[in-house]
Assembly symmetry: C2
């Protein structure tokens, strides 16, 4: 007996079911499952993905027995419906649709109305079918079949149609008469004859097999192949093919077609949501020629409940059945033929971030799903837009919306307009700047950095501006085509107004709105709730859902989440957002403080330790105060303080003039300052005298810092805090560096503790951020209480990319797929990750109790967090506002492979 | 029966032998072996290294039975000599010496005359011994024992001695009367009483055990421990202790003591070479109070043969016996007592490079050793000084030698004096500069780079100047104390003359001579011979030996040796020195050519490929000519051409002024030039837009280069050459980069070959110089015909050290042993080597025929070559002048583990 290649569905049962996505494709499995659930589905059958595989392996051949199985299933459809495929008087028409296990653009989609021929059209009309309907159906078939099977450009059909409309004085296709439609047919057939790779088949079975082959062919077209490669979708199994009896939403005013969601996909509200068109076929909704109506009606007018009460009731039942069955929000297609409801598709509905969160949380409350399922449904990215700053809605209402663009980077921003990156960088010193350009290019990176937001008139969601802005976490709108940006003249014209450099504009990167003037931004509702410790009861449903999801996440995750924070304020924000400590407290940011930088500079301009002694003595109490503040803010939680990392010349001003000023301020000979600055200058500061190299060659600086940390810990402990400082040595690359610095650090720590008469556990560890450190991690671990992976520098050095310079090629690398993504955003698990994994293994082998974390920006990236969970880190540390994202990502990572 | 801890030697036999270095130490094994060979050795015994181990493990305790064994062996000595240890009338005196398996500074060395006490001294004199001799012997014993066993500073004894000399009006110790010496004794004993950790033991056995314990203690003193750590000498086995009967070279004018070599250790000439002192004890030779005489005499006067004919004859026999036995040049110590010869030590003689080469080669001719043994004896470093440039000897005779310093970097250099690194860098544009400073520091690195040689008045062989100069391969003299360098005033005073900035000085870094004026340097004799293809017969013995050793090396090595060469001249030098191809032909050096740089700059200032087309078209024939020249020079050998590597801004002049000039020259708006230069500037150019990143983002540049390579190959093949070009893509870090560039390169290659109608095999491979490339080498190998490890960049990125900046901490790191050596000189096998090994394994696994080489500067470093041989590279490539060194190093690597 030959294998089974064809699966029937329809009439309340099906040979397949919803679990067989691999065999039947997503669409086929959905149709089968709906049939089994007793949902009204026009009957049909699915050719399995195995047939596709066979087809590919046999250069377009089909397995033995397939044709017989198709014929058998066609007969079954005919019997169920009482119509015959190819019957001139009462023809069964079918649709042919592809359906792969995973939704995949680039493949052939749909051909409707298969089964009509030159002979059947008049016969069917003669048998009583509405002529206009039949001509229209045939016209649609010729267009779709000609386009996707016979390679005639769609635009050629459009040209003829447009000409006919013009001749007839018809505004839309719906205004064309039956005669006019009839007149199109010979023109279409001639077009296919001339331009098509074959003539249009005048037998229904020929049409069917042609369409099936076209689906299988499209599996291997370049766009589909590219998509699979990029999305890591395997080439097998292939796609299924669904052949289904046509039902018609375009057979009169008691017919309609629509798309809907079982809940609101924008807000997540539990309320049936969708649109429909009366007397229309599915493709009309997509084509956008007529505006569909909301299922709820408009201002109390219309609406499905009123216009199709029976179908409406059916839809409500179907909706409940589907959600109850699939346990998720469904995206459905339906057709109402003469008042009777038919379902054509169901699939999991795409949703916005807030909707995803709310749907997941509410379905838990409804008992539909459990918490783990909810956590699996909410992507960390979904949280992002709820955390981005927003405009006050009341304020926003007062200003004009000038234009709309693509919401490329969520969040709200107001700033003075700059038209070039250079001006943006300059103007940023004076206040917030909004970079406005036709489009951005790699040269603009510095200006983008300096701006609070980016607005372009051209480009799509993957344009340079969009990609970079998301990378930088900046609000961004691209492709706002209503804007006329004249960079030469320095003006942007929109909505009859002209804005020049320095004028204020605002953008809402969450909605894509461009607004006039400057608006105050505020933390998002969720953020306000988290930071303010608001009562749960007072929260909006979506904010409540957000908080719940995070709480559930905390119950599942193994990875702890810390934050990178350098000030008491940041530390407090981090704690409010759920951080379980500080993974990176940078001491150099404190150095840049206005009150301190003169002292820091005196320290730098000193020639030796003797001259450095005085400025270091002045800096010590300042640093101590900083640490006291941070320790107080996070009593009970660990705080990892990194000793000075950047090269000293970073603290000097740049340019001759600035150095001269500095000399005057300090009362020093300008030549001395200049000479020292020159002596400190480096060709590649990233790879120069910094981090522990500084700590080894100028030990007094680290000693001052360690003393400040330990003194601060003593002060706060005496004040009643539970202080848990950890001292982190940056940039270690060799065991000897670690040994020397551990010895010195421990000596200062023990001396100060003894002098203060205190006992505080203060760990000493290191960053692993030099490739060599990862390679020899075993030997370093013997002298380190903890490792914290500095994946920013580790990525820089493993790839040999300077973050400051890679903007000149990295966007092109990502765009042209030399790299799958920006390795500074998402950890390169293949290369850099190999080093992380190795260092974890070697470190833990040498010291089983070694504490492992990461404090690079990857600590807030969900894909990277997944990897960090796999390799067994103890915690990730990220910027405070990424903490909620990391909490969720860590939970999802824990759930991988868990039932 | 207790284990055997003590081994006897003397009287023509021994319990141990020369193979037992681990058990008896080097000295003990040598004494045992000499005894067995019938060489006259004063009898004695060796405490084994096992005793040392026991002593360390048991806090100074000795194993059971040791004391009895020592007593037994003492008795045997006494019987053989007819004297008794502690006998007042005819005392046996002994020496105690340490002797570890490997020679090791920092440990206790020698105590002579043990066995004398306050009681024995007068008794012995009463029994007829010469009073002055006995007092002198006791004085020496008190000094040595007080110093090394009882911790009384040596200088305290010297103070007393000096005072006595002054009182007595004695010029030297030898002028002190017996009474004066006798007068010293109570003072010495009092000094020990007051300052020593114990009083001087007045029983001979107490002295002996005190001395033995002092030797064992010294095994673990800090200097010895440091030395072992640095030289990777294990802590076990420890040292042996040799107790030997004293013989006296200071008992009259028929006595003498001396040190000698069986051949000349400076030249390698086969001629007994050494010095002796009449009526002296061993330490007098070392102390340098009296000038020893050459064994050959001076101007026909004196000499051992005349003064001690019988001992001389004995020494000749001993010399022949030892060389015949040990198959190597020996360094011996001897004493003649009343005309009778005694041998006190034999060990392998240290020698200069030329001597090592000549001795090894001539011993092969003499049939003493085989070629492999000769190769094992010659260190690659030995070749270096024979390859360094030298002054013409005739010319050199004409100028005055102003001073002598330590020969820290071999080779000869003449240059205009600069007193600061900054001036050196500036002046270097005008001609050769000699950097003259009191000492150098890390800030001077740029100036050292710019200079042809370095001369300092202070510092030793491991000072900053010495270490860096050797690293840079620059001639260097340090510690030339006769120079008075006044950097402030800008003058160096020496030998009554003053030299100021711009005046010429010359240094011979091989000899340490500082010379006035400028001297022409010339290639060394060996280099002239190799380059000139001189007849073997006309060569000096040492040059002949050099050539032979290299030929033998070629017969043994598995690794091929290529050279890094960018010009036809360099290629010819490389071939003459034995290079088997070019491993790295950099195309950017060609770009800097004066005739081309304007075209290159026009290419750089172009905004896009369209504007670049014209300058690229102009560059193409120029590059083609270059390649034709190199291909012609190395017909029959592979030549790896690397596509453009550095960032484009390297080809632009620096500074506003220079850019303005450029704009004028090019007839371009200065702002345009400035803007382009700014746009190209990078924060960390090492990690920026260079190498294949340039090749991917500006593909036309590589395409031009590939076309030039292939065209040149066609031209030369038509001219009859056997051309074997290999095209190398730099800086690859991902598989996709390799795929894209391989495709493009192959396309151009195939197109040009087709157009020319030629068939030439042209491989396409890549450098592995990015850590990530090593980590994913398997995936890259699938698209590369070869890997060439760029260990310079790989070291930079694996360590995170910029070579341009590391001068600010690397010398200190090496000096303070944070790093065992400069990782840019000798490959860091632990870290960087791990990546090299991994890449080899992954690459070969993916592609078993993958060709592997290295073209970083480590390719010429012997230790690195040893590693490269281990990991299975096919070749190393180094600078042409290092090729002979690499050939030898490769042979020695092949011989490891081979019988």
């Amino acid at each position: 007996m030959p294998a089974k290649y064809v699966y029937f569905f329809g009439g309340g049962s099906a040979e397949g079911d919803g679990t067989q996505k691999d065999l039947l494709g997503g669409k086929g499995a959905g149709l089968a499952e709906m049939s089994r659930l007793g949902i009204p589905v026009p009957p049909g059958f699915t050719l399995t993905t195995e047939v596709c595989g066979y087809y590919q392996d046999h250069q377009g051949g089909y397995p033995d027995g397939l044709e017989a199985q198709v014929e058998e299933h066609l007969r079954r459809m005919e019997e169920q419906l009482g119509r015959r495929f190819g019957d001139p008087a009462n023809p069964l028409l079918v649709s042919v649709r592809s359906g792969a296990p995973r939704s995949m653009p680039g493949m052939m989609d749909t051909i409707l109305n298969l089964g009509l021929t030159d002979a059947i059209v008049p016969a069917w009309i003669a048998a009583g079918a509405d002529a206009r309907f039949v001509y229209d159906a045939y016209r649609r078939l010729l267009t779709m079949y000609g386009d996707v099977v016979l390679d005639v450009p769609h635009s050629e059909f459009e040209k003829i149609l447009t000409a006919t409309r013009r001749e007839q004085g018809a505004a839309t296709d719906a205004d064309l008469s039956a005669a006019a439609l009839q007149g199109l047919l010979p023109q279409y057939l001639k077009l296919i004859e001339e331009r098509g790779k074959r003539p249009f088949p005048q037998d229904p079975r020929g049409q069917l097999w042609g369409a099936i082959a076209a689906v299988f062919e499209s599996w291997n077209n370049p766009r589909a192949r590219d998509y699979r490669r990029l999305e890591h979708i395997p080439d097998t199994p292939g796609t299924g093919v669904n052949v289904q009896a046509m039902v018609y939403g375009n057979r009169g005013v008691d017919c309609a077609t629509g798309v809907a969601f079982t809940r609101n996909p924008a807000t997540g509200e539990r309320r049936f949501f969708g649109e429909y068109l009366i007397n229309a076929q599915g493709e009309d909704v997509v084509a956008g020629i007529r505006t569909p109506r909301p299922v709820d009606g408009v201002n109390g007018e219309g609406g499905l409940a009123k216009e199709f009460p029976q179908a409406w009731e059916g839809l409500q039942k179907v909706s409940a059945t589907l959600e109850g069955h699939f346990k998720d929000m469904q995206d459905i297609e339906f057709t109402i033929e003469h008042g009777v409801l038919f379902m054509l598709q169901t699939r999991t509905g795409k949703r916005t971030g807030p909707a995803a969160i709310r749907v997941a949380a509410e379905m838990v409350e409804e008992g539909l799903i459990d918490r783990r399922t909810a956590l699996r449904r909410v992507e960390p990215q979904h949280l992002v837009q709820m955390l981005a700053p927003e405009f006050d809605l009341e304020e926003k209402k007062k200003v004009a919306v000038l234009a709309h663009g693509l919401p490329a980077g969520p969040g709200a921003a107001s700033g003075a307009i700059a038209f070039t990156a250079e001006r943006a960088a300059t103007m940023a010193a004076a206040g917030p700047v909004l970079l406005v350009r036709a489009e951005t290019s790699p040269e603009d990176i510095v200006g983008m950095h300096a701006s609070v937001g980016i607005l372009t008139s051209r480009g799509g969601m993957t344009s340079h501006a969009a990609v970079v802005a998301r990378g930088l976490g900046k609000p961004c709108i691209v492709g706002a085509g209503e804007l006329d940006v004249d960079e030469e003249e320095g003006v942007v014209r929109v909505a009859g107004q002209a804005f020049r450099e320095g004028d204020f504009l605002s953008i809402d990167g969450t909605t894509g709105e461009v607004l006039a003037g400057s608006l105050v931004t505020r933390p998002s509702e969720v953020l306000r709730a988290l930071l303010g410790g608001a009562e749960r009861a007072g929260l909006s449903p979506r904010a409540k859902a957000f908080v719940e999801i995070l709480e559930w996440a905390d119950g599942e995750r193994r990875l702890k989440v810390r934050a990178n924070a350098d000030t008491p304020h940041d530390a407090e924000v981090a704690r409010a957002l759920g951080a379980q400590g500080i993974g990176l407290c940078r001491t150099e940011h404190m150095f840049f403080d206005e009150a301190r930088i003169p002292v820091v500079r005196r320290m730098i301009l000193a020639h030796d330790a003797a001259e450095r002694a005085q400025p270091l003595a002045e800096l010590m109490p300042m640093q101590q105060k900083d640490f006291e503040g941070i320790f107080a803010a996070l009593s009970g939680l660990p705080i990892t303080v990194r000793l000075l990392d950047p090269p000293l010349h970073e603290f000097l001003p740049h340019g001759e003039k600035a150095l001269q000023q500095l000399a005057e301020q300090m009362g020093v000979d300008p030549h001395t300052v200049q000479a020292r600055a020159e002596a400190l200058a480096e060709a590649n500061p990233m790879l120069g005298l910094r981090g522990c190299r500084l700590g080894i060659t100028a030990p007094d600086i680290y000693e001052m810092q360690v003393e400040a940390i330990v003194r601060a810990a003593c002060v706060r402990k005496r004040a009643g805090d539970d202080v848990r400082p950890e001292i982190m040595v940056p940039l270690v690359g060799t065991q000897t560096e670690m040994i020397r610095l551990r010895e010195r650090t421990a000596a200062v720590r023990d001396r100060v503790l003894a002098a203060e008469g205190m006992q505080i556990e203060i760990l000493i560890g290191t960053m692993i951020e030099i490739p060599r450190a990862a390679l020899v991690a075993g030997s370093i671990a013997a002298y380190a209480d903890f490792f914290s992976f500095g994946t920013n520098d580790l990525t820089q050095m493993t790839f040999g990319y300077s973050r400051d310079d890679a903007g000149r090629f990295l966007p092109e690398y990502v765009e042209t797929k030399v790299l799958p993504c920006d390795p500074f955003q998402s950890l390169d698990t293949e290369g850099v990750g190999q080093l992380v994994r190795l260092a974890c293994e070697l470190g833990r082998k040498a010291r089983p109790d070694l504490h492992l974390g990461v404090c690079g920006e990857h600590g807030g990236d969900p894909d990277s967090i997944r990897f960090f969970n796999q390799v067994g880190l103890d915690y990730v540390s990220c910027s405070p506002y990424r903490v909620p994202i990391a909490r969720l990502a860590a939970a999802r990572a824990s759930l991988e492979g868990v039932g």
